[in-house]
Symmetry: C2
Subunit: 152 residues, 2 copies
DNA sequence: AATTTAAAAGAGAGTTATTCTCAACAAGCT
DNA sequence: AGCTTGTTGAGAATAACTCTCTTTTAAATT
């Protein structure tokens, strides 16, 4: 199972294992995600704005590269919500949750379910895979949209 | 729970409920997916090629519109595999399966698990949502990539 | 501490999946 | 048969993301 908390040091160690480097940009981005409210996720654009608001000018290229890197390391979860871009959030088993998405209005509800991670663990182990993240995504129609006559 | 099989007639009925129409294009695309081998999925481009091979010239615009429509109706599942485009497959509870994806080489394994659909059912019911589809996606590192020294 | 070297950042161009626009067409009701 | 309005097709437009290439810099080595 993936680690819960990364410090700058543990990130540095893991990067060095692969011949990579800890840069200020990577440290700052990790910090942003770790201080985000539980369950809050960001798109690349949103992360860029948030960084600028905090006085960090990190290029979009670097942001895209970094979130993808961290997702591949298991530090971040890459979410495919209903919008046309990805979202990222910190990957912490304690706050592990899933998403119920309305395909019409895109309203999204987070929910927890302990069995899911167990299934993910069991399945990846069985195939010899090293688990990074598992997500249950439910596509459905919310109560409001069921009622609406509009063919949205 | 969503229906298993759509005929041209049941598709027509469901479209008409919403003031929509059954067109030859929609009928042909439904037919393609229903005759696809179990578990086989197509991207919009692949679907376009397959249609052409069978002598049906349906524009890419229509293909994109149709698969999205059918996904929103619960007829198709919209899959986010590791590639940079979506895949679609027929949504049949009997053949309901999930995906284990290697984040490094993108190799994907399909697996079944009966609990997942139950969780999806229970969760959507609890929130008053009408279930269309639920997918468990596991991101992991495959055995080969764990062994490889290359930092892919 | 200075040197070295290869990874990473930044800037902006490039790519590509997907959506949008709008005129022409046609499904299905009357 | 005619009418209404949803749908198609063609291509332009959009936007998320990646790539390229030069400059910078982390960090290992001396």
């Amino acid at each position: 199972m993936s680690m819960s908390f990364y410090t700058a040091d543990s990130l540095k160690a893991e990067l060095h294992e692969r011949g990579w480097r800890l840069t200020p940009q990577r440290e700052i981005i990790l910090d942003i995600f770790q201080n985000l409210a539980a369950g809050r996720h960001l798109s690349a654009e949103e992360l860029c704005e948030l960084l600028q608001k905090e006085g960090h000018d990190i290029s979009l290229s670097t942001i895209y590269r970094t979130v993808k890197l961290m997702a591949r390391m298991g530090i971040l979860r890459e979410l495919e919500l209903a919008e046309d871009h990805k979202h990222y959030e910190i990957n912490q088993p304690h706050h592990h949750h899933h998403h119920l998405i309305c395909v019409r209005c895109n309203q999204t509800i987070e929910f927890k379910n302990d069995s899911v991670l167990k299934i993910g663990d069991k399945t990846s182990k069985k195939e010899g895979y090293h688990l990074l993240d598992c997500q249950l995504t439910i596509h459905a129609v919310c109560p409001a949209c069921q009622r609406s006559i509009l063919p949205v």
